[in-house]
């Protein structure tokens, strides 16, 4: 395949206005599937099950089987709709989307067509550079996921050229909410970053609602990015009509979303600038090369023969339920971030450090458990992140915010030095118990008994008479050698500042006594 010609990004922006539209699929983490009682692999408890073990007759499309709507999934979808600022339908129906594909057990997908559960909303998205956008939401609708195909043999990993394909129906019937934006204008050079920030915001929202594991690498959150370009209108002229769009499918990391949108802008610009036309099609994103390649042509006339699902009754959420769910909504992530940054008094850089580490929730809960914001930030973005990286896991999986708060309190009280505290964290992470228990078990508390310290200092001074002489000569920095020896003798369990005080005191005393 010939590599697509790309136009320089800035040049593309001078000639064309990018318009993007994003479709995000969110896998809900309900215990059971959208239409069957089989366990839901998008719930972390059932993740990674053997293929085709999480299936009921409905998920396999067995003759005679019938779907039943998961009420929890409906409630979660309503909550998500409300968090997106959407209206909630008074009544909405499921519809069948008919197409043949081996991962689709019934050869139709139960989705929503002209009656989505949530519609007409808006999401505030803040970019890293501080720009704030209101992204218009067209709709959020409920549907079921398809199974998963693995193509064996052939070089592409795609169905064409494969020797045979395996199908796993565990994912068939996983509850999905598809969130569709309206065309987003005005992103300009920030359009790629905006796409990324939008998906990141959706992730924050579903995490704050607790309705999805939201792990992109597991496909809990999947993004399709629509991109089109239109020529810039001359001053005073009406805007040009929207250009032909492409839909880049399954871009499954934040970084890829940004790259894919940028790539499509550059690719389309190169074609349009040469007088070419854009084919309306789906495109596949290639993570390794950072490029897209054509999938199947798509048109608005794709005929899925939608019709109302006759096996299900309309979903009619009571207004009481909607208001109940609205009242239970958590603070919107953007507002929450602004509030916390102010409350904590962090600099932009410090706050970004927390955000980029995905540690906002952990820091907030640690502060809530009594730690100072500075201490909470220090431990989570410092030692805990280091430990987590070394173990290839999340910091949150090592310790709880309450444990970090307990540790910070011990440091604050002088029971632990930072160095000792790091050892304690290691113990807590290794499952040796709470910070206090680790301190006791490993005997890590700072020695606060001056008697023991004085004895060690006297011994060190006695063994280093030259140092004593230097201190007496007023070369106070020479005390460092003695302090080091004492800290070593105390196995680090001493407060270095106190040791220093005592060293100077004893040196002076020795002088007086000589």
């Amino acid at each position: 395949m010939a590599r697509a010609e790309l136009m320089d990004f800035d040049e593309a922006l001078e000639l064309f206005e990018p318009v993007i539209g994003l479709e995000v699929h969110v896998e809900l983490n309900t215990r059971t599937k959208m239409f069957s009682a089989a366990p839901n692999p998008a719930n972390s408890e059932f993740h990674g099950a053997e293929p085709n073990t999480l299936v009921a007759p409905v998920d396999l499309g067995l003759p005679g089987s019938l779907p039943v709507v998961n009420g929890e999934a409906v409630r979660n979808s309503i909550s998500l709709g409300l968090a997106l600022g959407c209206g909630i339908a008074e009544s909405c129906r499921f519809a069948r989307k008919n197409y043949f594909y081996p991962d689709l057990a019934k050869n139709y997908q139960i989705s929503q067509y002209d009656e989505p559960i949530a519609f007409e909303g808006s999401v505030e998205v803040e970019l890293e550079n501080g720009r704030v956008f209101q992204v218009p939401i067209e709709r959020a609708h409920m549907e079921e996921d398809a199974g998963k195909l693995t193509h064996v043999g052939g070089s592409t990993g795609r169905i064409h050229g494969a020797e045979y394909s395996l199908v796993d129906y565990n994912r068939a019937g996983v509850p999905l909410v598809e969130i569709v934006t309206r065309p987003i204008f005005g992103g300009e050079a920030d359009a790629p970053a905006l796409a990324r920030a939008y998906v990141s915001t959706i992730r924050d929202i579903v995490i704050s609602l607790g309705i999805s594991e939201a792990r992109m690498e597991r496909g809990n959150l999947r993004c399709d990015a629509n991109v089109s370009l239109r020529p810039r209108a001359a001053a005073g002229e009406p805007a040009e009509p929207l250009g032909t769009r492409t839909e880049t499918k399954n871009v499954n990391s934040f970084r890829s979303i940004e790259r894919a949108v940028r790539h499509e802008i550059q690719r389309q610009a190169a074609i349009l600038a040469k007088g070419g036309t854009i084919t309306q099609e789906t495109r596949h994103w290639h993570e390794d090369t950072g490029t897209t390649s054509p999938g199947r042509p798509k048109s608005d006339a794709d005929d899925y023969r939608y019709f109302p699902e006759p096996d299900l009754l309309p979903v009619v959420p009571s207004r009481e339920l909607v208001e109940e769910l609205r009242a239970a909504l958590p603070e919107p992530p953007a507002a929450r971030r602004r509030r916390l940054k102010t409350e904590w008094g962090f600099t932009d850089l410090e706050f970004l450090d927390v955000l980029n580490g995905g540690l906002l929730v952990e820091v907030a809960e640690t502060v809530a458990a009594g730690a100072s914001p500075a201490a909470a930030r220090k431990w989570w973005t410092g030692e805990l992140t280091r430990l987590a990286n070394a173990r290839d896991t999340d910091a949150a999986s090592l310790v709880t915010p309450a444990e970090v708060a307990e540790l910070a309190a011990l440091v604050e009280a002088g029971t632990l030095t930072d160095r000792l505290a790091r050892q304690v964290l290691e113990g807590v992470a290794a499952g040796e118990g709470s910070p206090k228990q680790v301190v006791d078990a490993r005997r890590l508390a700072v020695v606060s008994d001056d008697g023991a310290l004085v004895a060690a200092i006297d011994e060190a001074l006695a063994s280093q008479p030259d140092v004593l002489a230097k201190i007496r000569d007023g070369k106070v920095q020479a005390a460092g050698a003695v302090i080091g020896a004492v800290m070593k003798a105390m196995q680090g369990k001493a407060d270095a500042a106190r040791v220093r005080e005592l060293v100077l005191e004893r040196a002076a005393g020795a002088d007086a006594g000589a």
Binding site: G61, L66, N98, K106, Y108, P310, D311
Partner: protein, 511 residues
């Protein structure tokens, strides 16, 4: 003894079993013997599981001996239409595409029948995926009408109706999408009930048209139908369209049957020259009999019924085209690989080409077309509007009368092959039964005698408002009692003796 046992109604057999004077094993064996004797000629069954039936019967006998309190139909054998999935028993829906498939679960009505202690004998023949009015569209060959083996037993549930009419089973389960229980009852001199949509769970009923399908009883008496409906009706959490409210006892309605003061509406549009003379005359005689016994006969108009068939043949194929998409060879059933192998799409295509019969293909193509972009509003959309109008016709009629009455079908049983090449003529057979499916209201067909011109059975259909199934059992039972008195015995006593075929079947070694 054996011959005598198969001629008992289900209610009578239930009483004999309860009194301990007959065992379920004896009753089951009698029916298996009867099947062995006559089914070579009738071909009501696609599958008979005698061994399992006898084991189940023995288990029920043991429970009874142990003093367990059992329901009125415990120990009574039953035939099951092959559209219902049965755990451990092949279920084909009359199609080659499901040949050999053994479901891992029971349909809810089958589960309820088992829980009531009834004994499933086997699976009955049907038009492929319930598409047809003659059982000639079965991939496994037709069923023959016990009244005249050259004639059709109706369809799609010809197997269930014939098994009951031929005394191979006291009763059977059927399914009715446009008349598939009632029209076979009409042509075989049996009783068939399509309950209110949502009365009986559709879970495990291989879907033809989800918004029209309803499972119901196929029996020789109204009481037996009532007893069976009492077993199978009720809310099922596995079927979202099943009605949550509890049902009154239909058997009770039968026992208290009384038509005094009952207002019966005769649908003007379904009482016309289009109906065979003998069908009309028996129909009117039955109405007169009811009138003489206190019922009030009123003519009512249902102006939109005439569009029912047109609407039905858009809605049904549309839903069926989608429901039948799952038969693609990937997970179950037939798989046909083109010569030299092929892609998954080619295997799906070859399987569906080989596995579906012509009537199924006709309706899939029709339905796919009706749902296509640009045609949806004109076809599926308009059909749904007609459906609403038909429902309004029913509402208006039931504001004036308690039940409606029509002949169940335009003609008596026609000859095999007679309408096979004329789909439209076949479709017209359901003109009187389809409106009930479109509106979701219940209907019953009760035998009213033989047409003078051909000596074949004729049925009357009663229709009631949704959830008023008890009214059907009331009027049906009252009429049945009056007619049996008049005839001096059940109509089926006049059916031909199939014993000559018993000889033939035995000689040919069929079954």
């Amino acid at each position: 003894m054996s011959e005598h046992l198969v001629r008992l109604t289900a209610a009578e057999l239930g009483e004999r079993l309860a009194s301990g004077d007959v065992s379920s094993v004896e009753a089951t064996r009698a029916h298996l013997d009867r099947i062995a004797a006559v089914d070579g000629a009738v071909h009501a069954f696609l599958h008979v599981d005698g061994e399992r039936a006898l084991e189940t019967a023995a288990a029920v006998d043991r429970r009874r001996t142990a003093g367990e309190s059992l329901g009125p139909l415990a120990g009574v054998p039953i035939a099951i239409k092959d559209v219902l999935v049965t755990e451990g028993m092949p279920s084909t829906a009359g199609s080659r595409i499901l040949e050999g498939w053994v479901p891992p679960y029971d349909a809810t009505p089958v589960r309820k029948v088992r829980e009531a202690g009834m004994i499933p004998l086997g699976k009955t023949n049907m038009d492929e995926f319930a598409m047809g009015s003659s059982t000639e569209h079965s991939a496994y060959g037709p069923t023959y009408n016990p009244w005249d083996l050259e004639r059709i037993p109706g369809g799609s549930g010809g197997g269930s109706a014939a098994s009951v009419a031929a005394f191979e089973a006291p009763l059977a389960l059927g399914s009715d999408t446009g008349g598939s229980i009632r029209q076979p009852a009409h042509v075989t001199g049996t009783v068939g009930v399509k309950p209110t949509y949502g009365a009986v769970s559709r879970y495990g009923s291989i879907a033809l048209a989800s918004s029209l399908d309803q499972v119901g009883p196929v029996t020789r008496t109204v009481l037996d139908a009532a007893l069976l409906q009492d077993v199978i009706a009720g809310h099922d959490p596995l079927d979202s369209t099943s009605i949550p409210e509890a049902w009154p006892s239909m058997a009770e309605a039968v026992r208290r049957a009384d038509v005094a003061g009952l207002r019966i509406g005769v649908v003007k549009q379904l009482d016309s020259d289009g109906f065979q003379a003998g069908v009309r005359s028996r129909f009117h005689e039955a109405l007169e009999l009811l009138e003489r016994n206190g019922a009030e006969i009123v003519e009512v108009s249902a102006p939109h019924f005439e569009y029912s068939i047109a609407a039905y043949y858009l809605i049904l194929p549309a839903e069926a085209s989608s429901n039948l998409a799952k038969f693609d060879s990937v997970r179950f059933g037939l798989r046909v690989t083109p010569e030299g192998g092929g892609t998954v799409e080619q295997v799906m295509g070859a399987t569906r080409e080989a596995g579906f019969g012509p009537e199924v293909k006709r309706r899939i193509i029709l339905g796919t077309y009706a749902l296509s972009a640009g045609y949806y509003d004109a076809y599926y959309g308009s059909a749904q509007k007609v459906r609403t109008l038909v429902q309004r016709d029913f509402d208006a009629a039931f504001a004036k009368v308690d039940v409606l009455a029509t002949p169940t079908a335009p003609t008596t049983a026609f000859k095999l092959g007679e309408k096979l090449d004329d789909p439209l003529a076949m479709y017209l057979n359901d003109v009187a039964t389809i409106p009930a499916n479109l509106a979701g209201v219940p209907g019953i067909s009760v035998p009213v005698g033989l047409a003078p011109e051909d000596g074949l059975p004729v049925g009357i259909q009663f229709l009631a408002p949704a959830r008023e199934d008890a009214r059907l059992y009331n009027v049906g039972a009252a009429l049945e009692r009056l007619l049996v008195e008049q005839w001096g015995g059940p109509l089926l006593d006049r059916a031909p003796d199939l014993s000559s075929h018993e000889m033939a079947a035995a000689e040919e070694g069929v079954v």
